[in-house]
């Protein structure tokens, strides 16, 4: 397993399955037989996804699986925990419904960018089986080729800098509260907006789309906290993954991402939206640089290589990782905002693919997480929530509407509303 992957088996539980999902909606209904064939071929091409997880004396590890993955009909509650019986030991799932092909991935296997390459290859292979000529470009892999060694490399070690940053004490962040949903339930709300509209709005403030969305998210979270009139205003901090492939020549399909945490501290006083955007913009420009990211990665790599930690048996290590995660994971972050960016496809595929979606799995501490992906002229912002009240989504999307950005909202089920 790579450096980032080690944490997920230790912290995974029924309530925290550690999965995320990317999906593509085609123009025509999906043929499950052809999808099964396409999934088999794609797994041969991308062996880092054809794995089962095992526990050793000191570490969890992946072993190659020669089993066949079973494509499954889609469900109303995605991203729930993998089970050896239903998922044939795989750490991924392929699901279909009507025109949609969905891939759910345990985070130890890959990050969002790696999963998107797998999904694009799967969809391309499916279209090839339907007689569409799809070239292996724009991140689509050729299933007739052999896997390249770089695709299964752990690039964290190569990327890591020499000196990790000095540890800083980070205070507990604000968390949105609400009535918890049952542990096997998740509510998903998606807002679709025009890429041009959001780009124009971001440009108006001189920030990138990710910075604009992070600023908006921080703004609405700050307002929600202030509206709750708590005794003590806590910092509102986002966890924003950064794809390290932008900073290091890498073709790995395993995890290769780091995180930054733009923060607003409402106890300092009221922040206007412009102030928040400016703060996020300058923070991101300062933190999202190769040197800073190398330094962050160095800290993780150094921890993994610590001889004392390595010598600990797995069950002790699991406890230690759990404690570390409890102190530095969701507890210090209000929510996650993950932007996969614009999905690029070969021109031959585009007439057959309507849209892409990206969903983060349930988080029982943050309660609400946000995932963003763009394709063609549409940007999709998806909130996954494990509380009944859609307060964050409502504040977020209505804020965008007030800013002049039209949003189309849909929920995957009629959640929390009385029956009409």
């Amino acid at each position: 397993m790579d450096n980032a992957a080690n944490i997920y088996p230790a912290i995974k539980s029924r309530k925290r399955p550690g999965l995320f999902r990317v999906s593509a909606t085609l123009m025509e209904p999906v043929d499950s037989g052809l999808l099964q064939e396409a999934a088999n071929a794609t797994l041969v091409r991308v062996p880092s996804f054809a794995v089962r997880m095992r526990s050793g004396l000191f570490w969890h590890y992946f072993s190659h699986s020669d089993e066949q993955i079973r494509v499954q009909p889609d469900v109303i509650n995605p991203c729930m925990g993998l089970t050896p019986e239903k998922d044939n030991g795989f750490q991924i799932r392929v699901r279909y419904h009507d025109r949609r092909i969905a891939l759910e991935v345990f985070h130890s296997v890959s990050d969002g960018s790696g999963a998107m390459v797998f999904l694009k290859t799967l969809v391309a292979q499916y279209l090839r089986l339907r007689g569409v000529e799809v070239p292996a470009t724009h991140g689509v892999l050729d299933c007739d080729e052999a896997p390249r060694p770089g695709e299964v490399a752990d690039d964290f070690v190569a990327f890591a800098g020499q000196s990790p940053p000095k540890p800083r004490r980070t205070s507990r962040a604000y968390h949105v509260s609400g009535t918890p949903l049952p542990f096997d339930d998740i509510d998903i709300t998606t807002g679709t907006l025009s890429v041009e509209a959001i780009k124009a709005e971001s440009r108006r403030f001189g920030v990138s789309i990710t910075e604009y969305l992070a600023g908006t998210f921080l703004h609405v979270l700050t307002e929600i906290q202030t509206g709750e009139a708590p005794f003590r205003l806590r910092p509102v901090r986002l966890q924003v993954p950064v794809d390290l492939r932008r900073f290091h020549p890498s073709e790995t399909l395993r995890n290769f991402a780091s995180y930054v945490g733009p923060t607003i501290d409402p106890s300092q006083g009221e922040h206007t939206f412009e102030e928040i955007l400016s703060s996020v913009h300058h923070y991101m420009r300062y933190e999202v640089t190769a040197k800073h990211l190398r330094s962050r990665v160095a800290m993780n790599v150094r921890t993994e290589r610590n001889p004392l930690l390595r010598a600990l048996p797995l069950f002790v290590k699991n406890r230690a990782i759990n404690i570390g995660y409890a102190l530095s994971g969701p507890a210090i972050h209000t929510s996650t905002l993950s932007n996969l960016g614009m999905v690029q496809l070969p021109a031959a595929m585009m007439p057959h693919v309507e849209t892409f979606d990206f969903i983060l799995g349930p988080s029982r501490v943050a309660h609400v997480d946000c995932a963003v992906v763009g394709y063609s002229d549409k940007l999709k912002i998806t909130f996954s929530r494990v509380i009944e009240e859609p307060v964050v989504e409502r504040a977020f999307f209505t804020f965008l509407v007030r800013q002049g950005v039209p949003v189309k909202v849909e929920a995957h089920k009629e959640a929390g509303c009385p029956t009409v």
Binding site: D74, T179, H412, E414, C417
Partner: protein
């Protein structure tokens, strides 16, 4: 395309209500919502790490063994069923309290509390009718248990529905404690003396009421602080 008149967002063509605010979609007369794919309806059943059936079986065995032993010992070495019915009734109530949260897939809290209250009433009734029998069940046990159940139900529903904020919840709990004390003292007075003369429960009210007011005000501490500033300026 329908829009939400409250949120201003566009909705799906087949939407009946806004997913953000639950406002009903109002279409012009004669226009019906377009039919669309309702999405997958299958649930991914997540196996519970906690096996309810095994828990119920274990609790049943753990309660049945001492109950059986006490009955056998009581019959064998005593003069019939004298003390063992107390043990059996107590273990029966404990069994209900242990099992009731796991009777349904989703935890129906009001039902759970009601079942627990019935078990408590059953235990108290058994104690009152078992020798030496006495007449305190109706005048004492029933009103106090019912009052306790209603108060617990109200507090739990307020907490689950997030109707009240944290300190408001504390204030509501203090008020509930005061009400319960009044009911206890009134019931005891009526049973023993035939008339209600509140004494110690008034002390509880005198203690709890100011605390409840302070808690309720502190929840709105900003308003309090602003008010104090205003009066200081005067």
């Amino acid at each position: 395309m329908p829009y939400c008149v409250i949120c201003g967002v566009e909705l799906k063509a087949d939407a009946k209500q806004c997913p953000l605010c639950c406002t009903e979609v109002a279409l012009p007369p004669g226009v019906s919502p377009q039919a669309a794919d309702p999405g997958p309806q299958r649930w991914d059943v997540v196996e519970s790490a906690f096996d309810k059936r095994i828990w119920i079986q274990v609790v049943s065995v753990l309660m049945a063994i001492p109950a059986l032993i006490s009955v056998v010992f009581n019959v064998a070495f005593g003069e019939g069923l004298t003390w063992s019915p107390y043990v059996v009734a107590s273990l029966g109530a404990v069994w209900v309290w242990c099992v009731s949260p796991f009777l349904y897939h989703r935890n129906v809290v009001p039902l759970w509390i009601a079942i627990d209250a019935l078990a408590l009433l059953g235990l108290l009734y058994a104690v009152s009718v078992l020798p030496p029998a006495s007449d305190w069940f109706m005048p004492l046990a029933v009103p106090i248990t019912l009052c306790l159940t209603v108060l617990v139900l109200v507090i739990v529903m307020l907490a689950r529905g997030r109707v009240l904020r944290k300190l408001h919840m504390m204030a509501a709990t203090l008020i509930a404690v005061s009400v319960l004390c009044i009911v206890i003292e009134a019931s005891v007075d009526r049973y023993l003396a035939g008339a209600v003369r509140l004494q110690w429960s008034l002390l509880v009210i005198v203690t709890c009421a100011p605390l409840a007011v302070v808690a309720a005000l502190l929840q709105r501490h900003r308003v309090v602080v602003e008010g104090m500033k205003f009066w200081l300026r005067m």
